[in-house]
């Protein structure tokens, strides 16, 4: 079911792109990632707006007073919270629903890239079974050209220079840097330095780039390329929406506070 509805169409689209860009799998991965990001962009906008609304609520003096007033009565606080949502026009699911919809799409993107990078006979057999025979010509597509710049996209990437006895994992380094930069740039502001969410976010900002870097170091470089492009597009999308705090990149700088709290009363 998952294969038939999601993975197979994705594979056919990526192979179609591959066939029209001169059989360059690297370009196909980049274009396919851009395409999926564009399709899911409206969902991302909704998610960011929803998250912003919830963030603004936490900083709203009116809500703080309500929290203080009913701190001993959880049931009443919950009722007041629902009332507040209604008054301010906040949908508490506005941030998580688009995320839930995006999530399987991103997983499918990842899985379809893996499937399309078939580098062994069993993988090619599986790939052939996913291709719509009326849409794409298997005999013309296979073998897939997995060379992109200096990389074999089906293998972990290393750049070998004549004066070095070891290969440099350029993509893995770029994935670490871009993951770190992205997480810092989109890190939400927190007024309370002891806020557990903020502390967890800071921890993730440190560990996640290394984890992604490890994956990029050991997995096929086609996936590393996807990680890198995805990170760069994520930064670009946040920047277009004005949600990037470039100052967060400066050492010792705490995440920016929001410029203004703009929760309008529903009339």
């Amino acid at each position: 079911m998952w294969d038939a509805i999601i993975i197979t169409p994705f594979i056919n689209v990526i192979l179609f792109i591959y066939s029209i860009v001169g059989k360059n799998f690297g370009i196909a991965i980049i274009l396919f990632t851009i395409l999926i990001r564009l399709i899911t962009h409206p969902l991302m906008v909704k998610q960011i707006k929803g998250a912003q609304g919830m963030q603004n609520m936490q900083q709203d003096e009116e809500w703080k007073k309500v929290q203080e007033k009913y701190k001993g009565d959880k049931e009443k606080l919950a009722q007041e919270q629902m009332k507040y949502y209604k008054e301010k026009g906040i949908n508490p699911f506005a941030s998580c629903l688009p995320t839930l919809i995006q999530f399987p799409i991103i997983i499918a993107l990842y899985q379809s890239i893996i499937a399309a990078l078939a580098a062994t006979p069993v993988e090619v057999l599986n790939l052939v079974r996913h291709v719509y025979a009326d849409f794409l010509d298997v005999s013309n597509l296979i073998p897939l050209n997995s060379q992109f710049l200096w990389m074999d996209l089906g293998q972990p990437e290393r750049l070998n220079l004549p004066f070095l006895s070891f290969g440099i994992p350029v993509l893995a380094i770029l994935v670490v840097i871009s993951t770190y930069v992205q997480s810092k740039l989109i890190q939400p502001p927190s007024q309370n330095p002891k806020d557990q969410t903020a502390m967890m976010g800071n921890m993730m900002n440190i560990y996640m780039p290394f984890f992604m870097g490890y994956l990029a170091l050991t997995l096929a470089s086609g996936l590393s390329l996807y990680f890198l492009v995805s990170n760069l597009l994520g930064i670009a999308q946040y920047a277009m929406l004005g949600k990037v705090n470039w100052r967060n990149l400066l050492p010792g700088t705490k995440p920016n506070k929001p410029v203004a709290v703009s929760t309008k009363r529903k009339k």
Binding site: F103, I107, T120, V122, V124, V138, S139, P143, A220
Partner: protein
């Protein structure tokens, strides 16, 4: 979301692991099996383990290429770019060849004093019996199948759609032929004719002397099997499960049989018939007129046909309870082998 995504990605990363089917070869004493992280030497009489290599597995190093045998050594390539010669008695490493830059998917072949080792880095490496490079031939894309040799000519099929004829002494190209489809399996040979199945869904007979096409049979569905020649007849099967016996001279149909599941790998020719393997575990023996001799059902996937080793049909199984099962020519199970975990 990022955490969830990352965890999912790491969980999915198993999909990237090299995957294949057991590579099998043997002699009058032993069966040699390359599968997953180890190479096994099994006693032919009962399938018991003689030795395995390496003793301590290395997660990223996997073996699927058919081992080659030269009397002293078992020569096997791995998915980490290394070709190893293992002492046939003890399984200890005699030498290694590290000159390739990609996986060994197709098995090596020993001809006289030359080892021919195809690699996914597009090169066919010719080594002497000590593992020293004699020459290499570069194809246009990955080499996944074992070459065949006849009278000092190497016939090499490639994923690049080409069939090559190469001089075994010098590595020089004699002729090449565009088959219009990638070739996963090895060719088969009869006097002066080569038979090849391609991913363009064709079985093609080629003149071995000059590379001219003699005949080609187009299949309506995919072909994931190796055509095998015997006594004037070429046997192969398609992904819809149909088995074909065609004339080696002109490709005309002699008989066909509907097996019902994808026919995988090369059929094995016995004294009184031919055995075909189906992807979903069906093993069927037909006589030379297409009548059923016997069938067996195996738990697991069969991506390769049975290999005949000194009167036994040795079957490699993927995703099953056992990795190897051995049958006599009447379909009686003689022994089975499951590696220790």
């Amino acid at each position: 979301m990022f955490v969830m995504l990352t965890l999912s990605l790491s969980a999915c990363s198993g999909m990237l692991n090299a995957s294949g089917w057991p590579g099998i070869s043997g002699d009058e004493n032993s069966v040699y099996v390359a599968y997953a992280n180890q190479v096994y030497a099994l006693r032919l009489k009962d399938g018991s383990l003689n030795w395995r290599y390496p003793e301590k597995v290395e997660a990223a190093r996997t073996y699927y290429a058919n081992p080659a045998i030269n009397g002293l050594n078992v020569i096997v390539g791995d998915y980490k770019n290394t070709l190893s010669a293992l002492n046939i008695q003890s399984g200890t490493v005699t030498w290694t060849f590290e000159g390739a830059t990609n996986r060994y998917i197709g098995g090596a072949l020993v001809v006289g004093d030359t080892i021919l080792a195809p690699n996914a880095d597009h090169n066919l490496y010719a080594l002497d019996l000590n593992g020293n490079l004699k020459w290499k031939f570069t194809a246009k894309h990955a080499l996944w199948s074992t070459p065949i040799v006849h009278e000092d000519v190497v016939y090499l099929s490639s994923m690049d759609h080409y069939l090559y004829a190469i001089n075994i002494k010098s590595g020089q190209l004699i002729w090449e032929l565009d088959m219009e489809g990638a070739i996963v399996y090895s060719p088969s040979f009869d006097t002066d004719t080569i038979f090849v199945a391609t991913l363009a869904n064709e079985v093609v007979a080629v003149n071995a002397l000059n590379g001219a096409i003699i005949w080609k049979n187009k299949s309506e569905v995919g072909l994931w099997s190796q055509p095998v020649y015997d006594n004037g007849v070429v046997y192969y099967g398609d992904t819809a499960g149909k088995i074909f016996a065609v004339s080696a001279i002109n490709g005309n149909a002699i008989w066909d049989y509907m097996m019902g599941e994808m026919v995988s790998g090369a059929p094995a020719v016995m004294p009184d018939g031919v055995v075909f393997a189906g992807e979903n575990g069906k093993l069927i023996a037909l006589d030379f007129n297409g009548n059923i001799l016997w069938t067996r059902s195996i738990t697991g996937k069969l991506y390769t046909g049975p290999v005949i080793v000194d009167g036994l049909l040795v079957l490699g199984i993927s995703q099953g309870e056992e990795v190897i099962k051995a049958y006599d020519f009447n379909g009686n199970e003689i022994w089975k082998f499951t590696p220790e975990k």
